[in-house]
Symmetry: C2
Subunit: 345 residues, 2 copies
């Protein structure tokens, strides 16, 4: 019998087809390496220098409206541009490139500079979910857009350069690398079983109940069996829908509730604003039907031992295979034990 | 015509088959985010508390020998263990795992605590190369070992917890994820062309001379066309050999020289000890012939704008596609303009 809690082993990520390495015995290793600075824990409700606060001006001189819930605009430093012509480049099949067209947007989650998602109330989080759905719908109406990536970088350790609660949407003319992989894996499964991969996976996880953190009417939050980051989680819709477009009012409320509870549990682990990159994976758009695609959201948080010691995905991880120390089951237990009331009260 | 220096575009990584996104116009973006601490720039030649310095004791009480050039030992906190039994785990093909057997070693590059590779003299670097070759040979003699990953994490920003110059070797019972990908890509090419992928790629890069940094008798160092990290580079042997095992004395000397020059150029860019994760990719062992496999070494350095501002591979990059701002050609130019004499003299 493979002993997950003691033996070094590899686990298969069903969504990418790739493995991760688990070294459970290694968490005893002492840490003498880099320690992160803690960001100041209190911020004003309004910061006159923040480019996301209501009424302030941005880099290009535009003035933000005096918004009351959430607010969206095209990123002043977009990585993708809408007015790019589509060009190919190919030299002896050895140098291969093509231009990429896209739109990058920024979403402010709240007019309040001092909050984060887990500190917002349910109606405010629900308003963000509504906006995500509206934006997805609007962007998907442009025929040239094939994929819409909704995500959030939270915390300076995740490259977030402004603590005002916000996320991003990058919509583009071709499928990103990770989406290609997940499409292949989900499609193969759907063709073989006539059910989505995540439908069957969630059913098995609910039965085993070893990695489930939240289980409500419409969503589960769990530590995937193949989690690479120490406290990596996924939110998965119980109904096999391809995208947020299909969410009913009830589902949107449940999703908001799940988001709130999961991020509160995160903050409570180390009594800190828990950094992460998170984002939804959804069906490509304007590329025919995708019955194989099952909406889900990934959370990739970097912290490992404390509010200031992260997991480094470096040498072996970059060159060979992602590697983790604590097991996904241990991480799920820690998350389950947290209070659902934010430590700041 | 696709304008690499102006248009957002994707480039194909020949070794993995995956794309990266280039946003050349985005380097104008101001940076208000996280800034790294600089590690103290001077260290003693000998540190009585360092577990790598000659004569000192390690975590388990073992005493290091009074070594004169380099020194290797099994990692006291190995992620992989030699005495793991091989077990499989499969539940409905949804939870899939297998145990992994391996050996993790640490290589001290020098008895001197205060040096790094670019500050060492050529004979000392050559001694490290000799040791890598010897270790590869010895490990490959164990039949159960299928792959040997030689690498270095340099700098605390890359998770390196001891500044004493050192690297690692993880040898294991199955092929890591990145090696699987590179095997597929190289095999497909070799079967079609009867030459290695990197042989033809290097020939084309030498002809174009836009991304070459070093070109000597036996090696080239270049910024690959598909580099994801700002100053990512590769060292590639001109002779299509599967592993370091095949290097002649002359090749080992040339490799040491290439390593020295490349890392000196790195340090000179920002006048800092340039952090990176670097490692060789080589043919699997004890798995039959691999004529498709062409030895190379990857350098993944995190810095982007200065000694303290790195590139964050976060939300979009983790969920979708790796993304870069400056073009590989701009990075190659910067590297080419550096002096080959270390800034510290
Ligand atoms: O082995 P070390 O130096 O203690 O640890 C470092 O390198 C390892 C291999 O890349 C990583 O798994 C660790 O996260 C990193 O901190
Ligand atoms: O767009 P931002 O917040 O300025 O930038 C941040 O998120 C982007 C998308 O994940 C990354 O490309 C950047 O490296 C990161 O600093």
């Amino acid at each position: 019998m493979l002993d997950f809690a003691e033996q070094p082993h590899k686990r298969k990520n069903l969504l990418t087809g790739e493995y991760i390495l688990v070294s459970p015995h290694r968490s005893k290793r002492p840490w003498q390496g880099q320690v992160e600075d803690l960001a100041p824990d209190s911020r004003p409700q309004y910061d006159p220098k923040c480019y996301l606060c209501p009424g302030n001006s941005r880099a290009d001189g535009t003035q933000n409206p005096d918004y009351k819930d959430s607010f969206v605009f095209v990123n002043d430093f977009s990585a993708l541009l809408e007015d790019t012509s589509i060009e190919q480049f190919d030299e002896e099949s050895l140098l291969v490139a093509e231009s990429e067209r896209g739109i990058c947007k920024v979403i402010s989650f709240s007019p309040r500079h001092d909050l984060t998602l887990p500190q917002m109330d349910l109606p405010a989080i629900k308003a963000v979910v509504d906006l995500w759905q509206r934006e997805f719908k609007e962007l998907a109406e442009k025929e040239w857009i094939k994929y819409i990536q909704i995500f959030e970088n939270k915390g300076s350790i995740m490259g977030c350069s402004n603590p005002h609660p916000h996320g991003q949407i990058w919509a583009e003319s071709s499928l990103p690398v990770e989406i290609e992989k997940e499409t292949v894996q989900q499609k193969t499964y759907f063709e073989q079983h006539g059910r989505t991969l995540l439908q069957d996976y969630v059913a098995l996880e609910l039965k085993k109940d070893e990695r489930i953190i939240i289980d409500n009417e419409h969503f589960v939050a769990l530590v995937p069996f193949w989690a690479a980051w120490p406290y990596e989680t996924m939110i998965i819709s119980k109904r096999p829908v391809p995208s947020i477009l299909a969410f009913t009012e009830e589902e949107k409320e449940d999703f908001a509730r799940t988001l709130q509870e999961l991020t509160i549990r995160y903050d409570n682990i180390f009594k800190t604003s828990f950094p992460y990159s998170a984002g939804m994976h959804q069906s490509p758009v304007n590329t025919g039907e995708h019955p194989e695609w099952h909406w889900h959201m990934h959370f990739y948080p970097p912290l490992l031992r404390s509010a200031t010691v992260k997991k480094f995905m470096v040498g072996y991880e970059m060159l060979a295979t992602p590697q983790r120390d604590i097991t996904p089951e241990q991480a799920a237990n820690t998350l389950k034990q947290q209070s659902t009331i934010h430590y700041k009260g």
